[in-house]
């Protein structure tokens, strides 16, 4: 039985999800845009912030509450606090090292307690086993002028390949998706590695 995109996306609420790859930032931006309420975006202070002008097509930058922590420990601790309080609609944490099983499990429990979804941006291969799902995102290339050339239909040309590489409750798969600004949602262009 093949896995349908709609069964795993939008992300399961009140759980921690992990994203890696070049397109992880877009994944987080889209998740922020489709979440309700305020978005708490936690990162280490040496990292450049997300650019609000680039974020604007996906998510209103005014909803963001940036938290700049001095270490990964404080990033994770702040994420736990924010998740547990339940005041935000989504918590995005940019993590630079590996997440241990204890930390991952704590975040998962905090997300469940506060009813808040978490998106953790992790380096390749640094996730914890406690995450609900893990995604690898990258830009997808469409052959120019081919039948799928989006510009022929007047759409934004950008597509991403979103691969589900960990799933606690089902099988794995991958999709090529694009962002539809007008309907403000993710549209699947082709299924299963198409």
């Amino acid at each position: 039985m093949s896995l349908t995109f709609s069964s795993v996306y939008p992300l399961k609420p009140a759980r921690a999800h992990e994203v890696c790859g070049d397109g992880a930032l877009v994944f987080a931006a889209i998740a922020a845009g489709t979440a309700r309420g305020a978005v708490v975006w936690i990162s280490e202070s040496w990292r450049p912030t997300v650019n609000p002008e680039g974020l604007a097509p996906y998510c209103d930058p005014g909803r963001l509450l940036l938290t700049r922590a001095d270490s990964q420990l404080n990033v994770l601790a702040s994420a736990e606090t924010a998740l547990r309080s339940g005041a935000a609609g989504l918590v995005v944490a940019e993590v630079s090292g590996t997440i241990g099983l204890t930390e991952g499990r704590r975040l998962q429990l905090a997300a469940e307690a506060g009813g808040t979804t978490a998106v953790l941006l992790i380096p390749e291969g640094a996730g914890s086993n406690a995450a609900e799902t893990r995604w690898r995102c990258a830009g997808a290339t469409a052959p120019a002028g081919g039948p799928h050339d989006p510009r022929q239909n007047g759409h934004d040309s950008t597509r991403w390949r979103w691969s589900l590489i960990k799933n606690k409750i089902g099988t794995l798969s991958e999709w090529v998706v694009r962002w539809d600004a007008a309907s403000h949602r993710v549209i699947v262009v082709s299924e299963a590695g198409g």
């Binding site: 974020l55 209103d60 509450l65 702040s78 005041a87 997808a140």
Partner: protein
């Protein structure tokens, strides 16, 4: 009613304040760095016995008195101490003013009988200050000027009508005149107040500045002199002392709850909100432990404040038990009454609480919000402001497509006006599929910006076979290619 003023002079305020805290059994002095060397600021009578005086350099003083013990002076703390004394002095009368560095004026008009008369009043002041280890000189008269002269030169009481006879024999400096003026008058053979008073006024006014007659008239009551009392400081602090020490978290929180309720009632009447709070626990071994709380918004909601304190309180080490708890609003801000609104309400409050919680971990200045800036330069089109003192921007202005992540320009190899077909960036070889551009951005000539010295930039959006989508620019005036952003 005849005005009656007490002048209270503490000739050794600084030294005695320091000795009260830590007594020593030796000649003692305070030193302060002044005019390029350490000098004596204040000293005890024993040190004076060695021939030391104020203003002498410390090295000089040591040569007179090798056993001299010194501590650094702290004039600001002395001033605070004087304020405390002024507050204490309100037990005698409601109208107390500070006089310079080391004196007080008490307007006891109509309140002397409460202490049994003027003489018993002065005795009471003297006795209480002596018990506190402070030397005080007292003068009581109908005007502040005369009272000051008496306290500094001849302690005692000047009954009404006797002012001139009491201060007549005193030297001119009793009139609070500058040293230079006194010297000039003394050269003319005028050494006492009564001699000055007997001179024709016109000649004095012509030869000396108006200060001389002004001070004389003030002392004799011909010119009024005000005493400005201290404003009453509103202190938002409450404390609870416990008969038996407590140590369980629930007990401590219950005590803290009573304190917050009390404090919030007080803030409520003053229409103020706390911005920073401090909860201090004194343990039975006299150790103090403090929990500080900085709030994202001024507030006076007891339940919410208590919930925010919980994390800090649970980290307190109660030791053998806590027997005193004090809660102080360190910073308060005006917070008026507010119309309740159905649409905002709980959700906003909980977000403010979250900002406070995060702020107590990483610092309130690290919780930020984006705000748009009207600039066409990409890296200047927004600014970060602390979330605790800003409101979200309702509508973000729409712009051209911009990358999700901007960074400092990173040079790549490339020539010509079109983006290079292949290049290396961050250790990866990339080949371009499509490029969109250019979008020309000119530097803002009215602003100095080191990163824009290369002039115009032609921006290109490119997509690569490897999946990256980057934001490149070319500087036609100094040909070179750079990567400045990632679309993700």
């Amino acid at each position: 009613m005849q005005r009656r003023i007490v002048s209270l002079w503490f000739p050794r305020l600084a030294a005695e304040r320091s000795l009260r805290a830590r007594p020593v059994d030796a000649p003692f002095a305070l030193s302060l760095f002044d005019r390029n060397s350490e000098r004596l600021y204040d000293l005890c009578p024993r040190a004076e016995g060695f021939g030391l005086n104020r203003g002498m350099t410390l090295v000089h003083a040591r040569s007179f008195c090798p056993g001299l013990l010194t501590r650094p002076a702290d004039p600001a703390a002395d001033q605070r101490f004087l304020k405390l004394l002024a507050r204490w002095a309100t037990r005698y009368c409601p109208w107390v003013g500070i006089d310079g560095r080391d004196g007080l004026f008490l307007d006891i008009t109509g309140s002397a009988h409460l202490m049994g008369g003027e003489e018993p009043l002065l005795d009471d002041i003297r006795a209480r200050l002596a018990r506190a280890g402070l030397t005080a000189r007292l003068g009581l008269a109908g005007t502040p000027g005369t009272a000051w002269a008496l306290s500094h030169f001849a302690e005692g009481i000047a009954v009404p009508g006797e002012t001139l006879t009491r201060i007549g024999a005193l030297p001119l400096s009793a009139l609070r005149l500058a040293d230079q003026t006194c010297t000039a008058l003394e050269r003319l053979g005028i050494a006492t107040v009564s001699q000055l008073h007997n001179l024709p006024r016109a000649t004095i006014a012509r030869r000396f500045d108006r200060d001389v007659l002004f001070r004389l008239d003030q002392a004799l009551g011909d010119l009024p002199e005000q005493i400005s009392p201290l404003g009453e400081e509103q202190a938002f602090a409450v404390r609870i002392t416990l008969p038996d020490p407590i140590g369980l978290l629930d007990d401590v929180m219950a005590a803290a709850r009573r304190l917050t309720e009390h404090l919030c009632r007080r803030l409520d009447t003053a229409q103020k909100g706390a911005r920073a709070l401090k909860l201090t626990f004194r343990r039975v071994d006299q150790e103090n432990q403090a929990v500080e709380l900085k709030l994202a918004r001024p507030m006076r909601d007891g339940e919410r404040i208590l919930a925010l304190f919980e994390r800090g309180v649970s980290a307190v080490d109660a030791g053998y038990g806590i027997d005193m708890i004090r809660l102080e609003a360190v910073e308060v801000e005006p917070l008026g009454l507010r119309q309740l609104d159905r649409s905002e309400g709980l959700e906003k409050d909980s977000l403010d609480d979250l900002i406070t919680q995060l702020g107590n971990r990483v610092g309130l200045e690290n919780i930020l919000r984006f705000q748009p800036v009207d600039s066409h330069i990409p890296e200047r089109s927004f600014k970060l402001v602390p979330a605790a003192c800003s409101r979200p921007v309702p509508a973000w202005p729409a712009h051209r497509p911009r990358p999700l992540r901007l960074f400092a320009p990173e040079p790549i190899t490339g020539t010509g006006f079109e983006p290079p077909q292949r290049f290396r960036w961050r250790g990866r070889a990339l080949s371009v599929i499509e490029a969109e551009g250019p979008e020309r951005i000119t530097p803002a000539w009215w602003e100095e910006d080191a990163s824009w010295v290369k002039g115009l930039r032609d921006y290109w959006r490119i997509a690569t076979h490897q999946g990256q989508r980057l934001w490149l620019f070319h500087t036609p005036q100094h040909p070179a290619w750079f990567v400045q952003g990632e679309f993700g």
